[in-house]
Amino acid sequence: MRLHRVVWESGAVQTALLVMFVVVVQIIVSLTRMQPSGGALVLWGVVFSLVPALLWLTLFYARDRLEPEPKGYVMGVFLLGALLASSVGIPLVRDVFRVREWLYQTPWGYLLGSILVVGILQEFLIYAAVRYTVYPTSEFDEWIDGIVYATAAGLGFATVLNVNCVIELGGARLVTAAIYCVVNALAYASFASIIGFALSAVKFRERAGQLALVLGVFIAAILNGLFFWVQRAVVVRGADYRPWNGLIAAVIMAAVIYGIVELLLRRSVALESARDARAAREEAK
């Protein structure tokens, strides 16, 4: 069994690349003073929305050579995450729960609504994208698989949210759009890694019960709600809009979540290895 350092390590590489992407956009905009408008602005926003997912998929395929996951499965889960976001997640939040009409009216309503409606709905859909597709198959045969597939679903979800936001706003300033897309990608990918770990735990650990999975989805939903609540607090300061603050908060949050998931994963794999070794010794006797 591979003992992975991939969660924190690849998370760190991914995060560094995404921050570099934003810095590059900032430098290009500063040097060229480019200010696209109208359709060009929307187009740039859509391109920026795709960058985090493209970076992650490229990194994933570059690293996953020893025991590669089927490319079609990973891409399929990514696309399913995107499809669930556009066909279920966004319509339910916007048209059924109509969160824009009430979410921002009170601080308590914002926090509870962010967790119980937006957070739960989004994280459940990311969970479902893995649980009801690749999860029951024989391809889902390692602890790390839960994190890989859930991250793919989370990134698909984030990509559609980004594209949807850019189109709804009719574009945004280039650096702001780049930061927004990166923050969303980091957030949804790291929340998804928690769900992925829970899925693996329930599948590979005999003693893990229903509570592990419920906790996985609920913790991801709580983090989802809290994170965007904090984002709003650090980015919008009175009349000021400070997107870089949001990026810093997202990087810190992703580092902490990936670190915790890495620790949990290592501990679980070590426990399982010890158990297998003990079983092998007893068999040999």
Binding site: L116, I120, Y127, P136, Q210
Partner: protein, 194 residues
């Protein structure tokens, strides 16, 4: 290694998520149901309007509130004002007078229904109508396409004083916000003013 998930382990997530969404719906209902109570001692009018609506300063009205989340440039509004009203107490006479006032001040004023009502124990009339609204206007330095607005006047009369409760909304939003207007009307009480 076990690779076949046991189905019984997974129902809890679905049930739990559904319960959370139900709780979220309750939060939505609680937030949307919040109201602000207005008591105007001078006119004796008190009523409750949605807490998310904004109160506008208007000199000739007891209160004017608008829904800031109205779709389009014409905001949903609710206004209460009083004014002297001469003539008989007869409701049909009241309807004629109110309609004449509206026809004078509103473009393409068209009445769709007139019926008697009783508000807080005071008899009056309810007139539903439509008109052409100019939400931005040339005066604001911009030109805009006129909107079809739909409105309701509930006018009750106490002595020589008429109480006007006016609700107006863009045609596309009207049906959706009419229940809110009805809730506001239900909350109205009219006492003898100072």
């Amino acid at each position: 290694m076990n690779t076949q998930p046991r189905k019984s382990r997974y129902y809890a997530v679905v049930v739990f998520s559904a319960l959370c969404l139900a709780a979220g719906w309750l939060v939505k209902t609680a937030v949307e149901g919040r109201t602000v109570r207005l008591v105007d001692a001078k006119s004796g009018v008190s009523l409750s309007y949605p807490a998310s609506w904004l109160r506008l300063p208007e000199a000739d009205a007891i209160v004017t509130v608008i829904d800031p989340q109205s779709p389009g440039p014409f905001s949903t509004s609710f206004t209460v004002r009083t004014g002297p009203l001469a003539g008989s107490q007869d409701p049909s006479n009241l309807a004629v007078q109110v309609s004449a006032e509206r026809a004078h001040s509103l473009a393409l004023y068209r009445t769709s229904s007139v019926e008697p009502v009783e508000l807080s124990g005071v008899k009056g009339i309810r007139i539903e109508y439509a008109y052409a609204a100019d939400p931005v206007g040339i005066a604001a330095g911009r030109t805009s396409i006129p909107r079809v607005a739909r409105a309701v006047d509930v006018v009750v009369r106490r002595g020589d004083l008429a109480y006007y409760f006016t609700f107006a909304a863009d045609d596309v939003a009207y049906a959706g916000v009419l229940p809110t207007f009805e809730r506001i009307l239900k909350s109205v009480t009219i006492h003898q003013g100072r």
